[in-house]
Symmetry: C2
Subunit: 360 residues, 2 copies
C-alpha cells in the first residue's frame, strides 16, 4: 500500500462528530478532507475543505466524490451496500473494507462472526417471528434484550424483556428481523480500540472502562480496572478481527467483563469510537490521527497514554451547561457544533486529565 503524500484528499462518508474529529486530525497531518453526507450544515463539513451533500444512494454524486478523493473511509458503519458498491465501481479504495462495515451493520451477523473467530459473546438468537422469540426465551432465559438487527444505536431499537410474559409486547415494538440477547449481569463494561496499518502492523490503545445509561455511553475512563489477562484477551479479539479482514483503520470492540473474569463481546464498530475520545488529549496519537494514518498508508503512531483520563459525554441538554464547563479548569471541552440539542443526542464531551496519577 503506497503512502499518500500530504496534500492528498481524504473522503469521509458521514458528517457527524466522528467525521468532524477525523477531519481535524487529517488536516493536522496536511491532508484535505472531503465530506460526503446527506445532512446540510453538518458538524464535519464545517471543518472540511469540501463537502458533497447528497443521498447515500446517489450514484452520480458518489462517482464524482470517488474521483475527487484518494481514499474513502466512513465515520459510521451503516453505509448502505449500494453506496459501497458505487464507490467500488468508481475504483476508489474504501478503508476499512466494506465487508467489515457490512457485518457490523447486523447484530446477528456480527455476533455470529465474532463467535466463529472464537470470541465469546452473550447468548443470542435470530428472531423472525413471535414463535422464534418464545423459543429463544426458553433457551436463553429472561431477562433478555430484544434488539433490531440493523440500524440501532445509542440504545435505540431495543427493549428489555424482564420475563417471558413481556415477549409479545416487545415483539410488537421491535418487529423482525430482530435478535434476542441474553442479559449479562456484568461486573463492568470495557472496550478496546485498535488499529491495523496498511503494512499489517497493529497498535492497541489502552483498554477503556465504560458506563452507559439508557444504552448511551456516558463515561469512559482509563486505565480500566482490569487484570492484565483481561487486557490481553481483549487485544487478542481485536487482533483476530483485524487480521480476518486484512483490515486497515481503527476498530473498536465493546465487551462485558463478567464476575468470573470472562469477557463477552457486545458489539464491534469498524471505526473510531466514542470510548476513544480521551485519546485526543491523553494518548500520544489520538484514535482519529491513528485512523487517518492507517488509511493513508502511513505507519501507525505510538498509543501510550500520557496521563490517566476520564471522558464524560454531553448528551442533549447537558451541552447547555457549556458556560460552567468553560469555567472549569479541569474540563477539556469539546462541542460538536450541532444546532439542535435533541434528547439523547451526543452534543459534545469533556475530558478530565489526571496528571498526578500517571504513574499510579
Amino acid at each position: 500500500m503506497t503512502a499518500l503524500a500530504p496534500g492528498a484528499t481524504i473522503g469521509i462518508l458521514g458528517g457527524g462528530q466522528l467525521g468532524r474529529m477525523l477531519a481535524m486530525a487529517a488536516a493536522r497531518l496536511g491532508f484535505d478532507v472531503h465530506i460526503y453526507t446527506d445532512e446540510t450544515d453538518s458538524p464535519a463539513a464545517r471543518v472540511a475543505a469540501r463537502a458533497t451533500i447528497a443521498a447515500y444512494n446517489d450514484a452520480a454524486a458518489l462517482c464524482a466524490f470517488a474521483r475527487a478523493v484518494s481514499v474513502v473511509t466512513a465515520e459510521f458503519e451503516n453505509v448502505p451496500a449500494a453506496t459501497a458498491a458505487a464507490l467500488a465501481e468508481a475504483g476508489v479504495d474504501v478503508r476499512p473494507d466494506a465487508r467489515a462495515l457490512a457485518i457490523a451493520q447486523d447484530r446477528f451477523e456480527e455476533k455470529t462472526f465474532l463467535n466463529a473467530l472464537g470470541i465469546a459473546s452473550p447468548p443470542f438468537a435470530a428472531i423472525d417471528s413471535e414463535a422464534d422469540l418464545a423459543a429463544a426465551i426458553t433457551r436463553i432465559g429472561a431477562p433478555a434484550i430484544l434488539k433490531t438487527r440493523r440500524l440501532g444505536y445509542d440504545g435505540r431499537g431495543q427493549v428489555r424483556i424482564a420475563a417471558a410474559a413481556d415477549a409479545p409486547g416487545a415483539y410488537t415494538r421491535i418487529g423482525a428481523p430482530a435478535i434476542l440477547e441474553g442479559f449479562c449481569a456484568f461486573e463492568r463494561e470495557i472496550s478496546i480500540i485498535a488499529a491495523r496499518g496498511g503494512d499489517g502492523a497493529i497498535a492497541y490503545f489502552e483498554v477503556c472502562e465504560n458506563e452507559h445509561s439508557g444504552g448511551i455511553l456516558t463515561r469512559t475512563r482509563i486505565p480500566a480496572r482490569v487484570a492484565p489477562s483481561v487486557e490481553a484477551q481483549a487485544r487478542g479479539a481485536a487482533q483476530a478481527v483485524l487480521e480476518h479482514f486484512d483490515y486497515v483503520g481503527v476498530l473498536t470492540i465493546e465487551f462485558f467483563l463478567m464476575p468470573d473474569g470472562a469477557l463477552l463481546a457486545n458489539e464491534m464498530a469498524p471505526r473510531v469510537h466514542n470510548s476513544g475520545h480521551w485519546t485526543i488529549e491523553a494518548a500520544l496519537t489520538s484514535q482519529f490521527e491513528q485512523h487517518i494514518r492507517a488509511i493513508v498508508g502511513w505507519p501507525l503512531g505510538p498509543t501510550e497514554h500520557v496521563c490517566d483520563a476520564e471522558m464524560i459525554n454531553l448528551i442533549g441538554e447537558e451541552a447547555g451547561d457549556w458556560a460552567r464547563l468553560a469555567a472549569d479548569p479541569s474540563a477539556r471541552l469539546h462541542l460538536y457544533g450541532k444546532r439542535d440539542a435533541r434528547t439523547g443526542r451526543k452534543m459534545g464531551h469533556v475530558t478530565r486529565l489526571r496528571l498526578g496519577d500517571r504513574d499510579a
Copy 2:
C-alpha cells in the same frame, strides 16, 4: 463583555497556519469560523465553515464579513489600517484592539512603545536617510541590523551591518523608513506568551526558549533555561502591554536574555505565535484555544504544561521529509497544507514530548 455561546461565528483575518490552528481550536469549542483572506486555497479556509476571498481593502467584502460574524480577530499583525477602520465602521468587535495591531506593525513604534512602558530593548534609531544611518551607527555602534520598519517577518527585510563601511550598501538594500537596531550578543532568546480575557484576567504560558536561523524560528523548547527572576520579568512586561491596551486575546513578546541577566525586548506580536505551538500537545490549554476563549469572552483556560517539549519548525523543503517524520514515534507532526514549499516558508512543525521529564 458577554460570552458568545457555542454556535456563534468567529471571523479570522488571514488564511495562514496560525488561522488554521485557531480555526481548529474554535471548532473544538463548538464555534464556526469564517476566514477572510486575499489568498485562494489558503490553509485556514480549508478547515473553516466559510471563507471570503477578497482584498484587505475591499470595503464591501469587509462589511459583509463583519455582518456574518460575531467577533473578529487576526492571525497576523499587518492588518491594514483601512481594514480595521472598515470593520470598526461595520460595528463588529475586533479583538485584540486595532491599536495593538497598529503599533506592532512598525518596529520603531513598537520599541518606542515598549520602552515607554519601562520594557528595555536593544538600542535603536529611526532611519530616514543615509545621514540618519551614519549618525545612528556612530551612536549605537556596529555590528548592528538595519530593518524595514514595516512588513518584515521571518528574517525578511533586514540586513546585518558588520562595520560602518557596510552602511551605504545596507541602506540601498533596505531603504527608508527603516530602523537600526544594535546587535545583541545574547546568551539565549526567549519568548513569553500570555493572554488577557474579557474579564481582565491574565494567564501566562511557561517561558519558551527559542533558536533562530536566518531570522526564522527553528526550535522552541520548554522549559527555558532561565532563572525565576527572568520569568517574572517577562511576565511583568507582558502584563504591562496587556493592561495598557485593555487587551483581549493572546500576546507574545520575544526577548534577548543577556549574559548579565538583563532581558531586552526584541519584538511583540499581538497574536498567537510560532514559539507557542508546543502548547497544542504539552499545555492544558493550547495558545490557540486560549486566544479563542479570550475573544469570545470565555474564562481563560489553565496554562500548566503537561510535560516538557521541544518544537522544531519544518521550513521549505524540510517538509518533504514527512515520510521519515511520520515514522518517528517521538514526532508529533503538524503540516499546514501549503501547496508550495518555497524557501524559508513555514510548512509545518514537529513537537517532541519529554514525558519522563515532567517533574524534572
